[in-house]
C-alpha cells in the first residue's frame, strides 16, 4: 500500500475570482478550468485518499474526477465550486471502491499501517502545529480503522460537510442507512480516540 508523500495543508479557501473563473470554464475556457482544478486538487486528493486509503488510487480518483468535472462544468448551476468538485470526487472514489469490492483479491487499506506515515500539517505556530498535527494524525489513523461503510459516511459528512442526502447520493444508499452508518462511525471513532482525549481538549474549539 502506498502512502501520500507530501505534507498536508489546511483547508483550501475559495479563490477571490472564483465565480468569474467558473463562468469562463463553463464556456470552455481550459485555462480557467485548470486554475480551478489546480487550486482544489489538494482538497480532491485528500478526500479521495481518506476514502480509499491509498495514494495511487486516490490520485486516479482525483484525475477521474477532474475529467468528469471538465465534461460536466458546462451544466454547473452555481453554488460553491469546492462542494461541487468534492461531490464529483466522492463519486469517482466510490466508483473505485465498488470496483475493488468486485475484485476481492485486491487488498484494501491495512488499518495497522501508516500512522507514522500520515502527512503532517502546516501551521504558523510550531507548538500549535505539533499538537494539531498529532491530533490529525491520530484522527486519520482512526478513520482508517473504521469499517469501510462507516468511514465513507463519516468522511463525507463530518470531514467534508456533506448533508445526509448528498452522502446517500454519493454512496447510492438509503438515507436511513447513511444516518445509521454516520452515527455508528462517530461512536466508533470516539471509542478509538478516547486515549487521545487531551488532544481534543487542547486543540479543538467546540462549535456548538
Amino acid at each position: 500500500m502506498t502512502q501520500p508523500q507530501s505534507r498536508s495543508t489546511s483547508r483550501t479557501a475559495p479563490l477571490p475570482d472564483e465565480e468569474a473563473l467558473v463562468r469562463r470554464a463553463a464556456k470552455g475556457d481550459r485555462v480557467a478550468f485548470t486554475q480551478l482544478v489546480e487550486h482544489y486538487q489538494s482538497a480532491c486528493y485528500g478526500l479521495a485518499w481518506r476514502l480509499l486509503g491509498d495514494a495511487d488510487r486516490a490520485a486516479d480518483a482525483a484525475q477521474d474526477a477532474f475529467v468528469h468535472a471538465y465534461n460536466a462544468i458546462a451544466g454547473y448551476r452555481g453554488g460553491l465550486f469546492r462542494s461541487w468538485i468534492l461531490r464529483i470526487t466522492a463519486n469517482a472514489s466510490y466508483d473505485i471502491l465498488r470496483q475493488l469490492q468486485r475484485r476481492p483479491t485486491t487488498t484494501l487499506p491495512d488499518p495497522d499501517v501508516g500512522e507514522s506515515e500520515l502527512p503532517d500539517t502546516t501551521a504558523p505556530d510550531p507548538e500549535a502545529e505539533a499538537g494539531r498535527s498529532e491530533l490529525y494524525r491520530h484522527l486519520d489513523a482512526a478513520l482508517r480503522v473504521l469499517p469501510e461503510d462507516q468511514r465513507v459516511a463519516v468522511v463525507l459528512c463530518d470531514v467534508y460537510g456533506m448533508d445526509y442526502g448528498e452522502v446517500a447520493a454519493a454512496t447510492d444508499s438509503a438515507l436511513g442507512t447513511v444516518k445509521s452508518r454516520i452515527h455508528r462511525g462517530r461512536h466508533h471513532l470516539r471509542t478509538l480516540m478516547v486515549e487521545h482525549r487531551e488532544l481534543f481538549v487542547a486543540e479543538v474549539r467546540l462549535d456548538r
Binding site: 508523500q5 482544478v37 486528493y45 495514494a55 484525475q63 471538465y70 502546516t122 490529525y136 462517530r186
Partner: protein, 215 residues
C-alpha cells in the same frame, strides 16, 4: 450534573444531537436529558469535539503530479473514428463488390436481350420487362464450356442454352428458367445499399468528430 433517568437515549439519538440534526435538537426531552445526565452529557460533548476535529482535517497535496485537464479532443476523435471506420470501410468495399457483380450480371442480361433481338426472336416476357434470371443463370453460366453438360445435376449448367438446356417451342430458353426473380437487380441494389450505408456511417463519423472538436 445528575442522572435524570435510568433510561438513556440510544447512541443514534446522541450522535444526532451532537450532529445538530434538527429532529434531535428540537426533541426537548432528549435535550433536557442529555444536559442533566452524567452518562449521556459527556458522550455528546465528546462527539461534538470529534466532529469539530474532523471538520478541521487538512487537505492533502497529491502524492504525484495530477493531470488537471483531460486530453484534448483530437485523440478521442481518432479513437472514435478508428472503430467507426473499421465498420465503414468494409461496408463500402462490400457494396462496391456487389455493384460490380450486379453490373456484370445486368450487362450479361442485356447482352442476352441483344442476342435475342439480333436473332429476331421475341425474348421471354420476363427478359423483355427487365426481369433477370435466377442466380443460377449467371452471365458466366451462359458462356460455353462452363459447368457440366446437359443432364448434369447442376441446375446452372442444365438450364443454359449452350449447355443444351431446355428450350421452349420458339427455341428460346424457357421463361421460368430465365427469370424467376431479379437477382442482378437485387445484387445491384444491395451494393448501392451497402455503399449508401457506409457513406451515412462516414457522415456520422464526421459529425461525431466535429462534435469532439467542439467539445
Amino acid at each position: 450534573m445528575t442522572m435524570t433517568s435510568t433510561f438513556h437515549p440510544d447512541d443514534d439519538r446522541l450522535s444526532a444531537l451532537a450532529g445538530a440534526d434538527r429532529d434531535a435538537t428540537s426533541d426537548r426531552a432528549l435535550v433536557e436529558h442529555v444536559s442533566a445526565c452524567d452518562r449521556c452529557g459527556p458522550i455528546v460533548d465528546e462527539l461534538r469535539l470529534l466532529r469539530s476535529a474532523l471538520a478541521g482535517l487538512p487537505d492533502i497535496p497529491p502524492s504525484r503530479p495530477l493531470q488537471l485537464l483531460p486530453p484534448v479532443a483530437e485523440p478521442q476523435t481518432r479513437r472514435a473514428r478508428g472503430w467507426l471506420q473499421r465498420l465503414v470501410a468494409p461496408a463500402i468495399a462490400a457494396g462496391a463488390g456487389l455493384v460490380l457483380v450486379g453490373a456484370v450480371g445486368t450487362a450479361g442480361l442485356f447482352s442476352q436481350l441483344s442476342l435475342f433481338a439480333a436473332a429476331g426472336a421475341a425474348p421471354p416476357a420476363e427478359l423483355a420487362s427487365g426481369a433477370g434470371t435466377d442466380s443460377g443463370a449467371s452471365a458466366a453460366s451462359y458462356g460455353p464450356g462452363l459447368g457440366p453438360k446437359n443432364g448434369s445435376a447442376d441446375p446452372v449448367a442444365r438450364n443454359s442454352p449452350e449447355a443444351g438446356g431446355q428450350l421452349d417451342n420458339n427455341g428460346t430458353p424457357a421463361a421460368q428458367d430465365l427469370g424467376e426473380g431479379q437477382p442482378w437487380s437485387l445484387v445491384l441494389l444491395g451494393g448501392f445499399g451497402f455503399i449508401g450505408g457506409g457513406l451515412l456511417m462516414r457522415r456520422a463519423t464526421g459529425d461525431r468528430a466535429a462534435n469532439d472538436r467542439d467539445a
